[in-house]
């Protein structure tokens, strides 16, 4: 988002067009998608309203530039800051410059500290930020260690990679420790300090301040308690959209259909054989039958709140979906949804009755059971959705069963809850990904992506 084409040559004259362009640049940097044609519309719209009234200017820009309900709040914040009175803007700019200076200073210090034989260690900006935010005591310990290494006998340049990997290891530990209050997103840099100051404030980022990762980008297991209700609502909506996109029934348009000669002739006998009413062979596509398999084993425990919400949301939109949970064994949970109770009541019931929660994972056993006991739901139009982190025992057999299942049903889709780094490195994830279609589903943004790109339809 930050590195998105930022045009640094936006004119700084104080004309209406220049200001609008700057404002649009700001919106784009903040993550709102604004196309050129929309920018043109905005300028046109502004010529139609009374600019002396801020509410009119705001409505004109809002209607033409923002096309997503979720972006409206962000727009309002950015608008209020961008068109704030001079005094407020200067104050914000001052505060920003000070903050930025402080950040620069911290980074320089970190650079000086992380040196070996007079040359800086090769560290990423994120690692430097982690170092800068470590407790002083820990910094000293790391510095001491480096000094000792450098001061040892026969210590020469070839030691550098070794030392670097030790320091990096320590920083990666601290990165995890500091997780909650560490902001690793680099400060905004559009080349226009005023825009930067607004961006920093609008997104809640700042140099070294609270992390600016929005709820959507957050690993679902790390979403703090207070954000849970909001996250659940978003998840619920996404789950519904996802199911809508899969279960949509496309009927072919009449032009592509075939004439049903037999029925046409019979129907038109009453008109003396003139083909007055044409009958077509209707080829209505059946809605796919959905089958949901959710991993509730120990490794998935921290996602369980979301998995449950996911299952619940899906079950409230579509009534004919068969849902299962699995860990070492498979358990059907569809009947619990039949009574149409509230989320909490349904979930308590499921958790109490189920013996799978927190067990070890055996995808193989679960899939085998599915194919043996629930054969009746595995049809040519069945789409199986599996939500799991792929960590399973007996991978070879799991792959075998997965292949067998895939050949029996229309499609098998795997929503992988592993975090980004782990996803590529874990062998199970790689191999399963070769067997079936797999999509990352670690953050709400991932899920949104799946829905938006319509990868499933």
């Amino acid at each position: 988002m930050k590195e998105a084409h930022c045009d640094r040559s936006v004119p700084r004259e104080n004309t209406l067009e220049a200001n609008i362009l700057r404002f649009i640049l700001l919106l784009r940097q903040a993550g709102v998608r604004v196309s050129s044609s929309e920018a043109l519309d905005a300028v046109k719209a502004l010529t139609l309203v009374d600019l002396s009234q801020p509410s009119q200017a705001r409505a004109a820009l809002r209607g033409t530039l923002v096309k997503k309900a979720a972006d409206l709040a962000l727009f309002d914040r950015v608008f209020a800051m961008f068109f704030a009175p001079e005094e407020e803007r200067l104050q914000r700019l001052g505060a920003w410059q000070e903050q930025k200076g402080l950040h620069r200073q911290k980074m320089q210090e970190a650079g000086r500290d992380l040196e070996f034989l007079g040359k800086q260690l090769s560290m990423t900006e994120q690692e430097m930020t982690v170092y800068a935010n470590m407790p002083e005591q820990e910094k000293d310990r790391l510095k001491n260690y480096m000094d000792k290494t450098a001061g040892g006998k026969n210590v020469e340049e070839p030691f550098r990679p070794l030392l670097e990997s030790v320091v990096k290891g320590s920083l990666s530990y601290w990165r995890k420790q500091l997780k909650e209050d560490l902001d690793l997103t680099p400060p905004p840099d559009t080349g226009d300090e005023e825009l930067d100051s607004i961006l920093a404030q609008a997104e809640g980022t700042g140099t070294g301040g609270r992390r600016g990762v929005s709820l959507l980008q957050e690993d679902m297991q790390n979403i703090p308690e207070r954000d849970l209700p909001r996250a659940r609502i978003i998840l619920g909506k996404l789950a519904q959209q996802l199911i809508n996109s899969i279960s949509r029934r496309y009927r072919q348009s009449r032009r592509h259909q075939k004439l049903d000669l037999r029925r046409t002739i019979r129907e038109n006998l009453q008109y003396g054989g003139t083909p007055f009413r044409l009958k077509y062979k209707s080829r209505r596509q059946q809605k796919p039958r959905l089958l949901l398999l959710c991993d509730v084993s120990g490794s998935m425990a921290r996602y369980s709140s979301f998995v449950l919400q996911f299952i619940y949301s899906i079950n409230t939109v579509v009534s004919h979906i068969e849902s299962f949970v699995f860990a070492e064994h498979l358990e059907i949970i569809t009947p619990h949804f039949a009574r149409r109770q509230e989320f909490d009541a349904t979930m308590v019931e499921i958790i109490n009755k189920s013996r799978q929660w927190g067990g070890g994972t055996s995808v193989a056993a679960a899939l085998q059971e599915l194919q043996e006991k629930y054969e009746v739901v595995l049809k040519g139009n069945t789409v199986v959705i599996i939500v799991s982190d792929t960590k399973t025992t007996n991978l070879e057999r799991a792959l075998e069963e997965l292949g067998r299942l895939r050949r029996r049903v229309k499609d098998v889709i795997w929503l992988n809850t592993l975090a980004e780094g782990e996803r590529e490195s874990l062998r199970t994830a790689r191999l399963i990904g070769e067997e079936v279609r797999m999509f990352p589903c670690n953050t709400l943004a991932d899920l949104e992506d799946i829905v938006r790109k319509k990868v499933l339809s």
């Binding site: 809002r62 096309k67 997503k68 309900a69 348009s253 009449r254 149409r340 509230e342």
Partner: protein, 294 residues
């Protein structure tokens, strides 16, 4: 009919559509810029109503295209009146009149105009309401934004038809799926949310004249409390608020009390899960108390 912002604002209140200044302004801009208005928002906040209201304000017919899965160009644009063509062929066979039959058969006389073509070919500026556009298929959406960007339609047998007057187009969406960027780009966007308390009171008053002030305020507060409750999934819409108010009037209630609320709450909450949640977390007693306290 050209209209100034003030005239549009007055017309809205004249026909009883009570809304924020921003809504009026967005609609005004869309009309001036000749762009479709895409209205999103929760169900029952007056998205479809906007189309009806604009038709009333501009004194024209409302042409409505209801979208659904499987809607195709034939249903939206035009069809040839096959039966009539067939009859014509039969007649000309019997009477022996064969001159330029083909040209005749594909004349506007045999064209069945569907909403889009109707809106485009009209002499007068029409209001076209494309309802629940998120329900149609993506192919149709692509076709739609082609039509909406230049307001021309080509009928192979007749040639290209260009709109004489660009219609006022309202698209509504419940956000069942994300609409394509292309379609959004061509529209002016308006998000309608549930009204604020005071505005809801104004709406009830406008729609149900002669209602007592006290009851109106209590109804609006009760509905607001229900909408704000996180346990209730399907929030009561404005139409449901009005239905509820009418029911209360029919029961001669002059204020909300637990008994009346419990008898009529199913006019607001229409699923078992929501009714259960209401009884468990809020209850008729609490709701009437919340409504009574200002």
């Amino acid at each position: 009919m050209e209209m100034t912002l003030k005239e549009l604002r007055d017309s809205f209140s004249r026909v009883g559509y009570i809304c924020d200044e921003e809504v009026v302004l967005t609609v005004y801009l869309a009309i001036k810029l000749n762009k479709p208005i895409l209205i999103e928002g929760p169900p029952g906040v007056g998205k479809t109503e906007m189309g009806k209201v604009l038709a009333e304000i501009f004194q024209t017919e409302l042409i409505r295209l209801q979208c659904y899965e499987g809607l195709d160009e034939n249903k939206a644009l035009y069809e040839w009146n096959y039966q009539r063509q067939l009859l014509k062929i039969q007649i000309s066979k019997e009477t022996g009149m064969q001159a330029d039959l083909e040209g005749d058969l594909f004349s506007p006389e045999y064209l069945l105009m569907r909403p889009l073509l109707k809106a485009i070919s009209s002499e007068k500026r029409q209001v076209l309401l494309i309802d629940e556009v998120d329900k149609c298929d993506e192919e149709f959406e692509a076709f739609l934004f082609e039509v909406l960007s230049d307001f021309t339609v080509s009928v192979p047998e007749l040639g290209t038809l260009k709109a004489k007057e660009i219609p006022i187009v309202i698209l509504t969406s419940n956000n069942e799926r994300e609409l394509s960027d292309g379609l959004k780009r061509r529209c002016v966007f308006l998000y309608l949310d549930y009204p604020e308390l005071q505005r809801e009171i104004a709406i009830i008053r406008a729609r149900i004249p002669g209602i007592e002030e006290k009851l109106t305020a209590q109804v609006a507060r009760a509905v607001k409390a229900l909408r704000e409750s996180p346990d209730i999934k399907k929030k009561p819409s404005i139409a449901e608020t009005l239905d509820w108010t009418r029911a209360l009037l029919a029961m001669n209630a002059d204020r909300l009390d637990p008994k009346v609320v419990s008898q009529t709450v199913n006019l607001l909450l229409k699923s078992k899960a929501d009714l259960d949640a209401f009884r468990r977390h809020l209850g008729p007693g609490t709701l009437s108390e919340m409504a009574a306290s200002s």
